[in-house]
Symmetry: C2
Subunit: 412 residues, 2 copies
């Protein structure tokens, strides 16, 4: 089965938004073993939409449209598709009541335009929309399938996952299992070199690497007749990847963020944490605090950006700062020791570095970062030489710090 | 002139990346007054690429392609386009030397595949690529123009801005001037209601609103014969928008982030700043530290997540925490007073709130946030009721805090 994704929306052609729907749908269709051969985007223009739809139906078995179902768009997409598929639009009373209830919940008045959204092509399968007013639908005719979605991703994605993914699984006769491995500490090309033969030789499960924000993600997807079987097929592939990349480089198996893994481990081991940050300036604390429930294990943080604040808040000695500088192994270690002394937490992390773009020298270039870690009195300090802009250097410094913490917690 | 953007790349059809190139190019073409009628994406498949290109040349005056120029892709796109435009590929010696120099700089060996990248359609205008090996080119024939770019945005964007934008300005006979207004404190729909008549009645300059990450952005773009004239056309439009939205709601005129505006103002007024954060957990400090040179005005920050840390680090009284709770006007005010007492900075900000998803009650729901500000001893405290997920609540709380600071600094 081959597919085409047709987006309708002038806002895409104006460049106001990127077509992230096409990316999301493509990834999920590929998970299902459905080949996507084309993406296209047209504006809210009846003639160009009609031509694009006609072409899509000629060359593809499955056409998925996004957008053009809003209350102000005169149902352009729906009418054009119904006409092309030879279907009438009929009032669906359940959908009508659903839209009315949606407005009642929000204390808003339902307008005539919204009522029009309850008209759908006859004999179509309704895709309920719990996050907006426009439902989607699936139309089948002569071995062709058209699936219509509204444009907003926060409506489209749940509609796809709840109704369309199971529908397509049934249609393809395949159940999909998938794990999302997150890798840190190996570059993208190094990672690819180590597993490229696995990627190329595997067709089920498939192995697909993506570059994330400072880390690398590998999706392993198996197609099978039932879920248990799919899971069974995935496990040996994960083992092989572990073997190739080194167990310690994989920090998550279901797409968790590194701070989520760290907070879960802190809870599991009953360890509390405090942090002291110079160049990362609160970013590490902020990542940790973003994990719901982190208050159970995260005590406090210090953003000691100035030298004086390092002395006053953490008890770093003036002599150390003078002799070795604020960005040094010695300062990082005194920062973490002062931190633990003050907070009494079992774990502590201190970060100091040069995020740039100014402030670098030959001996201490931009990207030089020291991360000191203390767990139950045991100290360690790591020197990093990072590349990229200010934000990237700060972000990757935080990821490294979390990674050191995770490794140490796993030894408890 | 109407345009079409044709992306070549299986990675797009696999959903590994989003087609952000199409978004970028669409926005800039719209700035130039060039209508974009279609986006399309095809894989690295000669037949489907040929058909898509043929169709694009039939229906559009300007076809811009991205991708398919990499050294491993056998120059599929280039050969297909050259053939469709009736041009031979010829070796360009300047390009060849440029690629050789690129490899020399990186101490890497130039491969035969890279040499092939120096073959370009005859009579084409070269688009130099300073960030990669594949150059782009512009081919003109029979009132049709094809412009080819490599796929990576960090190569494509500078190539567009340095060579293609001026080329298109010349071709359209129009110079483009543009300002990017950033608006805070009015919702998107409220903002649109207030200026929708301006948006609809203006065709030059155009007014285009976008939704940002917690704020709203308005781009005003004028087309004219020279830059000075374009700037002159923009100014009265900005004045009108100011009038409609209220001067104080517009915090930047050239797309600056709110923390950039705040740091610039702190420097200008010679005011130093410290912060104390509970629910935002370092995010405010992190935003400020991300501005290069913020060390001149940012002294330090405290992430006082636990009650104990609020008492120990900021001197918040146990009684206040017991009587009013950690999330209260009283606690926020004691936090900022304790902060200033400790750090001695002229400005201080304290934030405490409930970011969710747990921890809310009927009286203190998720999204309740207090922001206290102190400048030269003058205190103020604001209650916010924010919507959305944990990250959004924290982010919007920080933006509000920066906004209060900016307003106060402007009165100095």
């Amino acid at each position: 089965m081959n597919a085409e994704i047709l987006a309708v929306g002038t806002e895409l052609l104006m460049g106001q938004i990127a077509n992230t729907n096409a990316q999301y749908l493509s990834r999920r269709l590929n998970d299902l073993g459905i080949n996507v051969y084309y993406h296209s985007v047209v504006g809210d223009n009846p003639m160009r939409l009609k031509q694009s739809l006609k072409q899509a139906l000629e060359r593809s078995d499955l056409v998925i449209t996004t957008g053009g179902l809003g209350p102000t768009q005169d149902d352009l997409t729906k009418e054009t598709i119904a006409e092309a598929m030879g279907k009438r639009l009929v009032l669906n009373i359940d959908v009508y009541n659903g839209i009315a209830a949606f407005f009642a919940r929000q204390n808003r008045k339902m307008l005539e335009n919204n009522a029009k959204q309850a008209y759908l092509p006859e004999d179509s399968i309704i895709i309920p929309n719990n996050n907006g007013t426009a439902p989607g639908c699936i139309i089948e005719k002569d071995n062709k399938t058209v699936i219509m979605f509204p444009g907003p991703p926060k409506e489209m994605i749940p509609m796809f996952e709840e109704t369309v993914f199971p529908y397509l699984e049934k249609k393809t006769g395949q159940i999909i299992g998938s794990r999302l491995l997150k890798v840190f500490g190996i570059g993208e090309s190094e990672m690819e070199t180590r597993i490229i033969d696995l990627i190329n030789s595997q067709s089920n499960p498939t192995i697909a690497p993506y570059v994330g924000d400072g880390d690398v993600v590998i999706r392993v997807t198996a197609r099978s007749k039932d879920r248990e079987e799919a899971d069974k097929m995935i496990q040996p592939v994960i083992e092989k990847i572990k073997e190739r990349l080194g167990d310690h480089h994989i920090y998550a198996f279901d797409g968790e963020a590194m701070e989520e893994v760290a907070v879960a481990l802190l809870k599991e081991k009953g360890v509390n944490l405090s942090v002291a940050e110079s160049c990362t300036g609160g970013m590490l604390a902020s990542k940790i605090v973003n994990v719901p429930g982190s208050s159970e294990v995260f005590d406090r943080g210090f953003v000691t950006y100035s030298n004086l604040s390092k002395i006053q808040e953490l008890g770093v000695s003036e002599k150390t700062l003078e002799t070795y500088g604020a960005v040094s192994r010695e300062t990082a270690l005194e920062m973490v020791q002062g931190l633990i002394k003050k907070t009494g937490t079992r774990a502590g992390i201190a970060i100091t570095g040069i995020a740039g773009p100014q402030g670098g020298t030959d001996k201490k270039p931009v990207g030089l970062v020291y991360v000191a870690l203390c767990l139950d009195g045991n100290l360690e300090c790591h020197e990093l030489r990072l590349m990229g802009g200010r934000y990237r250097i700060r972000n990757v410094a935080c990821l490294n710090a979390l990674n050191y913490l995770i490794k140490r917690l796993r030894t408890l």
